[in-house]
């Protein structure tokens, strides 16, 4: 729009709003999952039920700390992208992506290991445990796909459109990282 007469303050881009709405719906999803977890837990006499091992504490906590740390390179990449520094943006994104992939690989390893010890279809505990933890891993996977896409885009150039995409994705990652803390605390809560 042409205008010389008034200071033009452009609103937050649609991509950001789209991500905000998406994050809100996903937060609701995890709210119901965690609500279900505690609903089942307070009705059970033994949690986890007999024959199911207590959840591990140390490894999930360390992994979560590692994942939360990726908020830093993500935020850095936004800073670089705003200044149209495509190379540094890619570097920060790559650092985040490598750590996130490593995190997911370790988590999948733990997930499969858990599946060997107890089943998602035999107890309410197993059912909500695998659903809650698996839902979070799925969110990490989506974030990795988004980062891979952005890495490909920023490899050629940094445009305004791509910066919006990166801002939204970083927003998403902050959400996933906060979620990681909450989900992990719920996950290890029987052993605390």
């Amino acid at each position: 729009m042409s205008s010389a007469s008034y200071a033009q303050r452009v609103a937050r881009p649609n991509g950001w709003w789209g991500m905000a709405v998406f994050v809100a719906t996903e937060a609701t999803l995890f709210g119901t999952l965690i609500g279900s977890y505690f609903d089942l837990r307070f009705k059970a006499h033994h949690w986890p039920p007999e024959g199911v091992p207590d959840p591990k504490v140390a490894v999930p906590l360390i992994l979560t700390a590692v994942l939360v740390a990726t908020s830093l390179p993500m935020q850095l990449s936004v800073r670089f992208a705003r200044r149209r520094l495509a190379g540094l943006t890619c570097l920060a994104l790559l650092v985040a992506l490598v750590v996130q992939c490593g995190y997911l690989a370790m988590q999948i390893h733990l997930y499969v290991d858990d599946l060997h010890h107890f089943s998602p279809s035999e107890t309410a505990y197993g059912s909500i445990y695998f659903t809650l933890v698996g839902a979070h891993h799925a969110h990490v996977f989506v974030g990795i796909l988004l980062n891979a896409w952005l890495l490909l885009r920023f490899a050629t150039a940094a445009t305004a459109y791509r910066v919006v995409g990166l801002q939204s994705t970083t927003f998403y990652w902050h959400f996933v990282n906060v979620l990681a803390v909450i989900v992990t605390v719920v996950q290890i809560s029987p052993s605390l």
Partner: protein, 256 residues
């Protein structure tokens, strides 16, 4: 009416409730709808409807509605149940039901008159001009039918009846001549402050693309295939969805 339990118990499943539903629906929904149809017809088509014929059609429809639905109340109170298509003669319902049938024909005639009027006016009506009804709201400030962009400049609105605020409308013309507040790049829309409605900022709207609907179909098919346990086909459509998503985001708007 039916919130009063004794009355509700007396009339439930009688023809009275049928009368009540239709009387209310015609008064509260159908007549406003027909009114809106007439009111905005000149704005939508750029042509005037036939005024006299329109008044006549109103009275025919109005009388038809009352003659059709009002006797249903009485015949319901006389004991006729709903959802009957025939009954013994001499129960005292015959005259009422005959009246309703005549009313239904009158009502149909009235509705046909309305649509006939609008159809004729669509092609033969005199040009209406931008503001044939001297309306106060903003739609009457633009041509009939309006252009796709509605207004070339963002209109100044400082009262509930902006079309009557001559100063503001003249200000729009001056702005247009000076090229101020003219939307000319892409899809944009103004946003205003919440409390006072002053022009606040410009929102950039998404550009046109056929890909979102393709994406929606692909994602729908993913879940239909998952529900019917065709996991491989679901995976294929998931891949299609990913490709569509990539194609959608690969085309970027020009740097402004």
């Amino acid at each position: 009416m039916f919130a009063a339990i004794p009355f509700d118990q007396a009339t439930t499943d009688t023809y009275f409730v049928v009368a009540h539903f239709h009387f209310i629906i015609f008064g509260a929904a159908v007549f406003p709808l027909l009114g809106g149809l007439y009111y905005w017809f000149p704005k939508v088509t750029g042509r005037m409807y036939h005024e006299r014929w329109g008044q006549a059609s109103f009275w025919v429809t109005f009388v038809g509605t009352i003659v059709t639905f009002f006797p249903m109340h009485i015949v319901g109170l006389l004991g006729m149940t709903r959802r009957v298509y025939t009954y013994e003669p001499n129960l005292g319902w015959d005259a009422y039901n005959l009246t309703e049938t005549i009313g239904a024909f009158v009502l149909t005639a009235g509705l046909l008159m309305i649509f006939g009027n609008l159809l004729w006016s669509r092609f033969r009506g005199p040009p209406s001009g931008p503001d044939p009804l001297y309306g106060g709201t903003l739609e009457w400030a633009t041509t009939s039918p309006p252009p796709h962009y509605n207004f070339a400049v963002i209109p100044t609105v400082s009262s509930p009846y902006p079309n009557w605020d001559r100063e503001d409308r003249q200000e729009d013309v001056r702005r247009f001549e000076r090229g101020l507040l003219v939307f000319e790049t892409g899809h944009e829309t103004p946003a205003s402050t919440v409390r006072d409605g002053y022009l606040d900022e410009v929102l950039e709207m998404p550009s046109e693309s056929g890909l979102p609907i393709v994406l929606a179909f692909a994602v729908s098919l993913v879940f239909i295939m998952l529900l019917t346990t065709h996991y491989v086909i679901a995976g294929v459509f998931l891949g299609v969805a990913g490709l569509v998503l990539a194609a959608w985001h690969a085309r970027e708007p020009a740097e402004g």
